[in-house]
């Protein structure tokens, strides 16, 4: 089947088998390999991308369901201010080791920062419950997100 969608701001029309999931479409057809696959059954969060402005697990969405959708992957955030702050903070807090969970973590982290400006540590941990990291033990990731939240609160007040 033929699917038309917008990926990282660019319109794309791709042919895909109906059983293809969005992650395979992004990685295989569009060569956007920054989106990773850790389980392909919706538990690990490594495949998280933004679909129509909200985080979504690209392994659980059939490509056909994305017709007309706007998708943003880790490659598509450019100089987005929150993403720039998160990259900086992730590096400073050593929030990544092998880097495999990182794209999904960043997409979710950006959503947390924008949606929950007052989130505390417990809330951030809860919000991260759908993203597994086998390397870091999460402390760096949690601190990186809390750091960006704090600096945005500081800037706002």
């Amino acid at each position: 089947m033929s699917i038309t969608l917008t990926v990282n701001g660019t319109p794309a029309t791709v042919a895909a088998e109906p059983r293809t999931h969005l992650a395979d479409l992004l990685r295989g057809e569009l060569l956007l390999t920054g989106t990773h696959l850790g389980c392909e059954h919706g538990v690990c969060g490594a495949c998280t991308v933004e679909v129509d402005g909200a985080p979504a697990r690209s392994c659980l969405i059939h490509a056909g369901a994305c017709d007309g959708a706007s998708v943003r992957t880790i490659e598509g955030f450019g100089e987005d201010a929150v993403m720039v702050a998160l990259r900086e903070s992730f590096s400073a807090e050593h929030a990544l080791q092998c880097g495999y969970c990182t794209p999904g973590m960043l997409v979710v982290a950006r959503d947390i920062v924008l949606r929950l400006p007052d989130a505390d540590e417990a809330r951030v941990r809860e919000e991260l419950a759908g993203n597994l990291c086998r390397c870091t033990g999460y402390r760096g990731i949690v601190r990186a997100i809390l750091g960006v939240l704090a600096s945005r609160r500081g800037a706002a007040s």
Binding site: H36, R87, V124, I141
Partner: protein, 773 residues
């Protein structure tokens, strides 16, 4: 040294590798797909033990062992006396020995089509009695998994010492039977292989998620009958290893043979279902421990009978016996044990073959020893701290050689214990207990031998003994320093830390240092990244290569400054004589582009040095730690909550403290998984029962508490900078400390937990057994 402290050894330098990962530019095997690539799906055994009678193949590219006779079986024989050899066929021959064993490779342009082919195969087999449990494996009359053996044991090791007299003199004696669960290492990225045949070079190029690319290369050459020069292995970015990728894979051999056969790139990417069902391959131990102590808690002797479920085959390169063979030598832990008797068995079962997971046998050993110590303390009515203090190796005894010949390099173990206990308000826990709350305090103390070398591994019988680690340091014509090492960095941050080492020696800005790793065509041979060896071994080798390179640069620099070698020094990346200086860039440019300016007696080796390194003695470094935990147990649901987690850790001189903390924290999260959540259950037919990450529970951000780490930094006297290996340490201590905390909480109820993981069901069962639930 002070001028360079911000970027050299000891600096928490941010990682050079972060940028690519933060922008989605990491490159893992699954991201690489050359034109014309064919994908492989494996037809795998649906049963744990059977005679394989045949495979009816559908139309298409389907290959069984008979179709690929060029692949020789994998052989990983321990050199320990009594080891029973067995072959591991890349594709099953004659028998099926565990669920998930590869039987046929199904090849198609897409993975989905390849899976369709696998689903269309019809398997003909005759079921055999299944050995699903390591203790049943040894029962008289048990079905034989390898029929040319007299029983189902790869190996038995023992140390005989009669301890029966201790019954008469000991103030306390306890016996415990303890089990750890079979686990999955579960790196977030699965395994993956892309094999290509280059007809021009007559070379096989295998891109694979590997921790030890050179060992993989040797194994591929051996099993495919190729010269080693005909095999190049590339490990690109690898999404976590933990031991899971320290192996020669049957799948690598099959993809390689197919790439040669078909003249097309051939790729296999493991998915999570096949990973969980075919490769739950670590940590399953059974211990029967008896310990005797005097009234002060001083250990008089320990007897341990340990069985390791080693699964169906002996894997390359570590063999089926590394784990069990290590138990005898590490069981005494950080303690001065006067008498010791052990027997270990590597049991062969119809389960996936065992691989060493972060911490290897130490996690199980620490669990067994530390819970036994607490049981003794409870019997004696002394504290968990007191019994450990009575037995830890004292600092004045360092370097200390214990009764099984293990040599501890340095450290103050009792101080780590004191600091860990001081970091927790134990009195508050006791007050809550007195008020009837099910809360407990638990400790574990352990040491981690790391970067141990030739003599140790030779003694453990593994067929691939590490020797001198080599590194190459070279300047490129623009003055950039390139380091080449044969091991691989997959999260450990070596691209940063080895640049820090180079900076320490040469003063070159780490931003101007490139690390080349993970490609056998570009790097010196190495046994790879495992055994907490990278920072000691590669760090030492890089330091030595840089030192020698610095000597050559100084000689050239002196000539450029028109002075002699004795008058110049290296300062901040420059060759300096008094007020005059030339940069290393200029030195490099001179060698490569203006050789007319070189001194007549210049070293003709140029600006490229390969140096080897091994600490002397090579008995390894011993990092050590004390973990202190406060845990609350819900006696209604059996749920355990970790309220506090403190670690006092001594890794010697820390090359990059930020990265060290990251290693410890990541290890602890895995150790918490071992303690509380992770378990691959098998039924009586050895069928794995957890097929998704919703069934096999990995700790998430809500399961791992905010962990506090305190450092001690006792240098190792035997390594280049005093650094110690500690990459595995975090994963060793948690089960012991956590279960001790749980048992401390349960003790007033008369309940005790013995088996891992401490799931709600096991906690409730322990309470029920004590008549409390």
């Amino acid at each position: 040294m002070t001028a360079t402290i911000s970027k050299g050894v000891g600096a928490s330098l941010r990682r050079k590798e972060d940028a690519r990962f933060l922008h989605g530019r990491g490159r893992y095997v699954g991201d690489i797909r050359p034109a014309g690539t064919l994908e492989v799906a494996f037809l795998r055994s649906p049963v744990a033990h059977a005679r394989l009678l045949g495979v009816q193949k559908p139309t298409g590219l389907v290959f069984t062992a008979a179709d690929l006779p060029e692949i020789r079986p994998i052989r990983a024989n321990s050199t320990l006396p009594g080891f029973r050899a067995s072959d591991q066929p890349a594709l099953a021959v004659g028998k099926l020995r565990h669920v998930g064993e590869p039987i046929a490779a199904c090849v198609a342009p897409t993975r989905a089509e390849a899976e369709d082919l696998a689903a269309a195969c019809v398997l003909d087999y005759q079921a055999l009695p299944v050995i699903a449990d390591m203790l049943a494996a040894r029962a008289p009359g048990a079905a034989l998994i390898h029929e040319h053996w007299p029983d189902n044991a790869f190996l038995e090791t023992r140390r005989d010492e009669d301890l029966t007299d201790l019954d008469a003199v000991a103030a306390a004696k306890v016996t415990r039977r303890l089990r750890t669960a079979r686990q999955h290492m579960a790196p977030l990225e699965g395994r993956g292989v892309l094999a290509e045949w280059d007809p021009r070079l007559e070379q096989l190029v295998v891109t694979t998620a590997a921790q030890m690319p050179h060992v993989t290369k040797t194994g591929l050459a051996e099993c495919l009958g190729l010269d080693e020069g005909q095999v190049r292995v590339v490990a690109p970015d690898v999404g976590g290893g933990f031991g899971y990728k320290g192996i020669l894979l049957a799948e690598e051999l099959v993809c390689a043979a197919l790439a040669i056969r078909l003249g097309r790139p051939v790729r296999w990417l493991e998915d999570r279902l096949e990973q969980l069902t075919a490769n739950a391959n670590c940590r399953e131990h059974f211990y029967e421990v008896t310990a005797w102590a005097d009234a002060h808690g001083k250990l008089l002797g320990v007897e341990v009978d340990a069985t390791v479920d080693a699964g169906a085959y002996s894997l390359y390169p570590f063999s089926a016996c590394l784990e069990a063979a290590q138990i005898g030598s590490i069981f005494p832990g950080p303690y001065t044990l006067p008498r010791f008797r052990f027997r270990t068995v590597s049991a062969c079962t119809n389960k996936p073959p065992i691989l060493p997971y972060r911490g290897v046998a130490r996690t199980g050993v620490c669990y067994a020893m530390e819970t036994t110590l607490d049981a003794l303390a409870r019997q004696l009515g002394i504290s968990a701290q007191a019994i450990r203090a009575a037995n830890l190796v004292p600092p004045e005894a360092m370097p200390y050689r214990n009764l099984v010949g293990k040599v501890f390099d340095s450290g103050d173990y009792p101080e780590a214990l004191r600091r860990a206990v001081a970091a927790v308000d134990v009195a508050a826990v006791r007050a809550r207990q007195a008020a009837g709350e099910a809360v407990g305090f638990g400790l574990s103390v352990f040491c981690e031998q790391g970067a141990h070398g030739t003599s140790v591994y030779h003694g453990w019988g593994i067929p691939f003994v590490p020797g001198f680690e080599q590194a190459q340091a070279r300047f490129t014509p623009d003055g950039v320093l390139e380091l080449r090492v044969g091991l691989h960095s997959h999260g450990q941050g070596l691209e940063t830390t080895l640049a820090q080492v180079a900076h320490e020696i040469l003063g070159v800005d780490p931003a101007r240092v490139r690390l080349v790793h993970g490609d056998t065509a570009l790097t010196p041979y190495s046994t790879g990244t495992w055994g907490s060896r990278a920072m000691v071994m590669a760090g030492g080798a890089v330091a030595e290569a840089c030192r020698q390179l610095g000597e050559r640069a100084l000689a050239i620099g002196a000539a450029l400054l028109q002075t002699d070698r004795a008058s110049v020094r290296l300062v901040a990346g420059q060759v300096v004589a008094g007020d005059a200086a030339v940069s290393l860039d200029q030195v490099a440019r001179t060698w490569f582009r203006s050789p007319q300016n070189l001194p007549a007696n210049v070293d003709r080796g140029g600006l490229e040095v390969t140096a080897g390194y091994r600490p002397d003695p090579d008995t390894g470094t011993h990092s050590y730690a004390a973990h202190a935990v406060v845990a609350k147990v819900c006696t209604e649901t059996g749920m355990v909550t970790l309220e506090q987690y403190v670690i006092v850790e001594d890794g010697g001189v820390l090359v990059n403290p930020m990265i060290v903390d990251g290693q410890v924290l990541g290890g602890v999260a895995q150790g918490i998984g071992t303690a509380l959540y992770e378990e691959m259950p098998f039924d009586s037919e050895a069928q794995p029962l957890a097929g998704t990450l919703a069934d096999y529970l990995l700790p998430g951000a809500t399961e791992v508490p905010d962990i506090r780490i305190e450092h001690m930094e006792t240098p190792s006297p035997w390594t280049r900078f005093g650094q110690k290996g500690l990459g595995e340490s975090g994963a060793i201590g948690p089960p012991g400390a956590i279960v001790n905390a749980i048992n401390d909480a349960l003790a007033p109820l008369g309940a005790e937990l013995l088996d891992l993981p401490a799931t709600p069901a096991r906690v409730l069962a322990a309470l029920a057994k004590a008549g409390r639930a």
